[in-house]
Symmetry: C2
Subunit: 189 residues, 2 copies
């Protein structure tokens, strides 16, 4: 599946490719106490065969895994400096961990692991994130070839996109209808 | 009031000043339906005499004003590319509009308006954000010298800062105690 907003996003990522951090995006979720959480994540590409779903990775021990369990909604906010565009992408989040037995998701998690650098992989062997700082030796392990048990794929299935282009002050809203397809409308910025 | 994290943030902003968009930060709030919202805002400086409060501006007609009315919590997430640092700043949000009569906040709103460019000011005369796109003529008005009635100051009074520096994989958590001062602890990234 594709959509006009995902085509726009692909073009923007190409136009911003000179900046390695153009793949960094801020993902908001809601904490168990009802307050917002927000952190930078790295975009790991669209789901195979579904360009309306974005993928990220996370550690099973990170807070966002608990948060998504209680409130499975997210909004990713992307600012792309070269083209001065913002994408706000909201939808449902799915965490795919080592306990997932559905072939589609197991395969997607394996593909995401295969695409990770060895430095990226080794982070999943590190001591528990957020706990008091461990000694430097605790950060020396090398990850296995198979996905580490702490490694989770995160999938954002987008239901709405709010797109702004600042050079011309253009803004468009894309919304998924009951037929699964996106409508779009030009709105005031 | 100052704190170690606000000193870090000031140094980072200086070190990233070559990138005009280093003042862009993503601010998450919670919508009336309990789902997260996330958008890019421009950092407008610390509150005078309080470097633990950050200021932004917004339009009274934007959704975040309603959101903050129902759920006054926010988390700003900043990624600074030159120094590879992330600041996650959570706390309470206050919207200071034209109906605010408290001298401290009225003065802060006036100062924020005084610091706006004329292009920035004129946005507050534009047609209602998010409504179907108006004709180009609707975007031609010039703002008055006094703060436009749609102009609101947004103040994030920070209670916690989660700081990460990716070059050395350092992470520190700063939390405001009951005495109003911040404690800090090194934790695993």
């Amino acid at each position: 599946m594709s959509s006009k907003w995902s085509q726009l996003l692909k073009s923007s990522l190409e136009a911003n490719a000179s900046l390695p951090y153009s793949k960094y995006v801020q993902l908001a979720t809601v904490k168990p106490d009802g307050r917002p959480a927000n952190r930078t994540v790295v975009f790991r590409g669209f789901m195979q065969d579904d360009e309306t779903s974005l993928t990220f990775v996370t550690d099973r021990r990170s807070r966002k895994v608990q948060e998504v369990h209680l409130s499975p909604y997210g909004e990713a906010c992307w600012y792309l400096p070269v083209t001065r565009e913002q994408f706000r992408l909201s939808g449902q989040l799915r965490i795919v961990g080592s306990d997932n037995n559905e072939e589609q998701w197991m395969a997607a998690r394996r593909r995401a692991w295969a695409a990770m650098s060895s430095a990226g992989r080794s982070q999943f062997t590190w001591p528990t994130p957020g706990e008091p700082r461990a000694n430097d030796e605790a950060f020396q392990a090398k990850a296995s070839e198979e996905p580490e048990s702490n490694f989770c794929l995160v999938v954002l299935s987008v239901d709405a996109c709010d797109y702004v282009q600042l050079f011309e002050n253009k803004r468009e809203i894309f919304e998924r209808g009951e037929d699964g397809l996106f409508s779009h409308q030009a709105v005031n910025p």
